[in-house]
Symmetry: C2
Subunit: 331 residues, 2 copies
């Protein structure tokens, strides 16, 4: 098992996995309540009675009932690897009178950043479902943002998604200048920023389209699109993700809107919609074949409007866009 | 400010709030990305550029741009209160070369457990929306569990919910024996356990109904209902939540199904669907007027079927059920 090699490199004797997505990645079973995957030569998934039946059916790793943290601690020694997402309450209980050392590690998150073919297929299917739902949605001005969001999510479910991979954003008119605006009960205005995704077989898609109206909208739209293309072209194995961010940011800055591009250029996506690495100024992760990254520059003009365009990109020897629907939409 | 008094009692000089629900509770603004609320005599909400516009509009607490953890640390001294949900990566960065002590506290969670009248109204509205959506859903056997789940969520949105307060569970036939089964793509069988809720103005509802068919289903249903009534009757100010759990558990145990009631009896609900306290064997929290608790006993018969009934209860001088739809449904 590859993970054991990596643990040896990091001098970790036992790895404790609590993050449900990490458990799902390694064991093929998504816990619904607190479970602990103990990774060592003979790994074991400790779960509670509520998940027991499901876990036994689906886990690739032997399942035992979780008794208590006290019991678990007795079996631990040497250096124990912990996920950065562990909360300090659990950490405090774990460390109390402990006969072992602990160390934060991102082993599983790093494994997850490079997708297998099977994972890619799930992501592509999630994207297909999401795009189909988008195409069957009518952006009729008599509808509210909330109704559009509800409709897209309903359509994704009917197309086979387990649910939306995150809360759909429908931000129209002035609200389009708020990058994380979810939905309001206002009727649609223009432009309309729609940021949505489907969850299929536990994998996420994540896409944004902006439906524009005026020449001023189009002017901004074209800058964002140029920035996005520049970033996509910059994606190849061996390049740092911060360089991809720079490729998008430089274009927007050249046009004088650098201050209005107020987030990073993208992120890895898989079992979670936001995974590591982040395509940001400070992330120096080197791109590898098999990564799936979003590229989503935006320009946000306060009290006026905003534009964001987001596609999903799979890394081969270059960046291959997975989305099928055009960036510019004629509605 | 009540929170400052409580901080003094716990000898906390400054409280750092990162949990977005806690920030929302205190500042009236729900951050979409990492923000820190620094609670002291002159509290301040540190937020990033992406949330800035929204935060300035909506926060009851003065907003400043978050610069860096390093900057923030310079301003901290004495005893710093932290939430139990803080992750160990943030904790490690915070503690490095720190000139202050830290202490885990549940001050805000404790405040949140007792609802104001305004909070109760939001919860009641969320419940009203959820029940209306349930009533307008046709449990037609030609539909899949997923379709029913999608329909309930869509109807809640059209009735004014921002979204479902958690992933709707529609577990039918054998799957009803899995307490956390979300939905499958299978067509509906009987019984059908539906566990659903709406989010309205950031507040959650949470209800479960089981649609039964056979006499055997009814036999189990009646035991669960008796257990639920017993627990609801046990709710009053001054009683420990574990006693409410016991009231339900005793009934189910008397009928010989104690081993098949594999979760706790309920939980507090508010801004989050699962809040503290938990109506479980080990939680000794004393019930107070103004709490909103779910009461949701269940019996799960492996490879056969399951029944769960869940209502929301508001604590006055007794437990007042907020739900309007009957436990037993004739469909």
């Amino acid at each position: 098992m590859k993970i054991i090699d990596q643990m040896q490199k990091e001098n970790i004797d036992t790895l404790l996995i609590l993050n449900p997505h990490n458990i799902n990645y390694l064991a093929g079973f998504m816990p619904s309540a607190a479970s602990i995957l103990v990774v060592k030569d003979e790994p074991v998934l400790l779960t509670n009675q509520m998940d027991m039946e499901d876990a036994i059916l689906n886990s690739k790793i032997p399942v035992e009932k979780f008794k208590s943290l006290k019991e678990l601690k007795k079996s631990l020694n040497g250096v124990i690897g912990l996920e950065s997402s562990m909360n300090i309450q659990t950490f405090e209980r774990l460390k109390k009178d402990a006969a072992f050392e602990t160390k934060i590690t991102g082993i599983v998150e790093q494994m997850r950043s490079v997708k297998t073919n099977e994972e890619l297929k799930n992501i592509e299917k999630a994207l297909e479902i999401a795009e189909k739902a988008f195409k069957s949605t009518e952006f009729d001005d008599s509808k509210t943002e909330n109704e559009i969001g509800a409709e897209i999510e309903y359509n994704m479910r009917l197309n086979g998604a387990k649910k939306a991979s995150f809360d759909t954003i429908v931000a129209s008119g002035k609200r389009s200048s708020l990058p994380h605006a979810d939905v309001s009960m206002n009727k649609l205005e223009r432009p309309i920023v729609i940021d949505w995704g489907a969850l299929y077989n536990n994998y996420c898609s994540d896409t944004t389209r902006t439906i524009i109206e005026t020449e001023r909208h189009e002017e901004i739209f074209d800058i964002v699109l140029e920035a996005q293309k520049s970033a996509i072209t910059a994606i190849k194995p061996g390049v740092k993700v911060c360089e991809v961010d720079k490729a998008a940011r430089d274009v927007i800055t050249e046009y004088g809107y650098g201050e209005s591009f107020i987030h990073s250029t993208g992120h890895s996506v898989g079992l979670e919609v936001h995974e590591s690495p982040s395509l940001s100024k400070r992330d120096e992760t080197v791109i590898e074949k098999g990564m799936v990254l979003t590229v989503e520059p935006g320009i946000y003009l306060k009290d006026d409007f905003g534009v964001r365009i987001e596609d999903m990109v799979y890394v081969t020897n270059k960046g291959r866009v997975l989305n099928k629907i055009d960036a510019k939409i004629n509605i």
